[in-house]
Amino acid sequence: MIELDVHAAVAGSADVDPAAVLGRKGLFGKDRATLLALCAVHEALDLPPKTPRSPAEPDPGVAVVVSSNLGNVGVVSEIARGLRADGVRSVSPMLAPGASSNVIAGAIAIWFRFGGPNLTVCSGAGAGFDAIWLAGALLQRGRARRAVVVGVEPDDEDALALHSLRHAGPAEKLTGGAACLILSASTGTSAATATVTLRDYGPPPASPAVNAAVNAAVNAAADAHPDTPADSARYGAAGVFAVCAAVADVRAGGPPRHLSCGDAADGFRTLRVGGS
């Protein structure tokens, strides 16, 4: 069982103006998903708008775990179209980091000087809970004292087009946006106002047959604890958004919340916010 304290939970807006939050400097060439993610972290750290970036040495005690499936799909598509139309000389080296799928987590580390373990989870519909689970593993094994977990999807045309091809996705179109959780290993004290508990987290399903069994188990569990499903239209960001909303409810005095995240293709995961 992995139990985590929640120090901040921010569900960012998809139409945020990055320059108004982060200041103009350093934004050039960054893709939309990265900008949304930086804004969500900025808010979660409770920094005033346009706070100058820290010149300090990287802090190895802060880990970054990003969940995103479509973050760099737009950049990769843009590079591919540019190559086809005008050849390699037309492609800006500024786009190079975006060719790699971990660009967002790297950019967060650089912007905020987080030198701890840096992960990007792209596991589909359950990516948000997978990210929280792996952040919990890093924290409980002493690899960092805090983990910044960011769920983010962009809403550019390439991302929307690919999302519409989800085999097990929702009827709705992709909802862009970024949410951020700041977590630590649970201390069992009352300092934090909410906890996330991952009990019997279980691996993703191994096959469609196992998938059905997992679904049945989730449904059976729902009888005892009505699960609130994460909003699947947020795809890789869904789990982090769901936890942010549940943390707000629990902090407002609501009962513990049992959440599920995933879909029939990628399997379901569950976790609990609040309670013990």
Binding site: P58, G87, G106, G115, N118, R141, L165, H167
Partner: protein
Amino acid sequence: MSVRVAATAVRTCFGDGPSTFAALSRGACGAAPLRLYDPAETRVTHGYEIEGGPRLFRASRWLTTCVDEALAEAGVDRSQQRVVVLAGTGLRELSAVEALATGGAGAEGFPAERLHFGPALTLAGACSAGGHALALAQDLLELGEADAVVAAGADAMTASMLAMIGRVAAEPTTRVRPFDRDRTGVLLGEGAAAVVLLPDDHTTGGPGPRVLATGLSCDAGHETAPDRAGILRAMRDAFARAGRAPGEVDLVVAHGTGTELNDPVEALALTELMAGHAPLVTAIKGAVGHTSGGSALLSLVMATYCMESGVVPHIVGLRDPLPEAAALNLVRDRPVAARPRLVQIDGFGFGGVNAVTLLEAT
């Protein structure tokens, strides 16, 4: 708690694990003119491709093959045990996204779920993704979150990544020359690797080597350039977690990408870390190319073959070492007879993500 390597499986341009180790030992270079990507489009002429199969969803196929092979060899039953598969990758199946964006084969679309490697838990970590999968595999076993974890990694190629290599190269290169003074840059290699890890306790005690620890760090400095301080943090983290000292290392399997930036930075970091101790240093990318998400795991698997065979292959493509490597005991020209007990494996990636693993023979 260390964890035990119960079984391994790999695919490279040379084939499976034994074929790849044999090729390394005879100094073979797997680079060839690219068959699947047009050099006129990306300005990259060569690579280390795996022969055969269609252009899309290559990494998924090799990954599945390697994971199935390794689990079967380890005797792990997925229906009876809690088995987590962590799949590290740099490029996922983004070549299918490129096809969707540009027309041609694959433009009709594909289920978005095939961008990742479900049911494996897909981790994007550029060229050290496999090393990060190893670190998390050990963490999950130590926390009791799984009975067995497969640390896996796979990558094919994408036009966008090839273009970034072609864009910055002065001249197209034809092979990778790790730690060479006249190195001409990196080339991509296709490949996959899977390593089954089990808790190292009395119930699973066996003959496999032990992963003692993997140290992790992020440079938090630059998106694409390596950073000596960040790399050293990952190295020192590995030794601190393992309770070992750099002076105990017998062999380093370096990241060694043959790029202008990586090799001097890595050589200087190793020199500083070892502080006068001079273990053997080898690297495999001259033979198999840069296999990105699979590369750290592939290095680890080759290290297990070194332990078993008593042979450490030389660095293919290295003729004249760069000055920054003067203090390193680089394995050159021919394999050496040695049976390393403690091996350090380096993996560094875009985004400044570093993973350094310590593997010990039993």
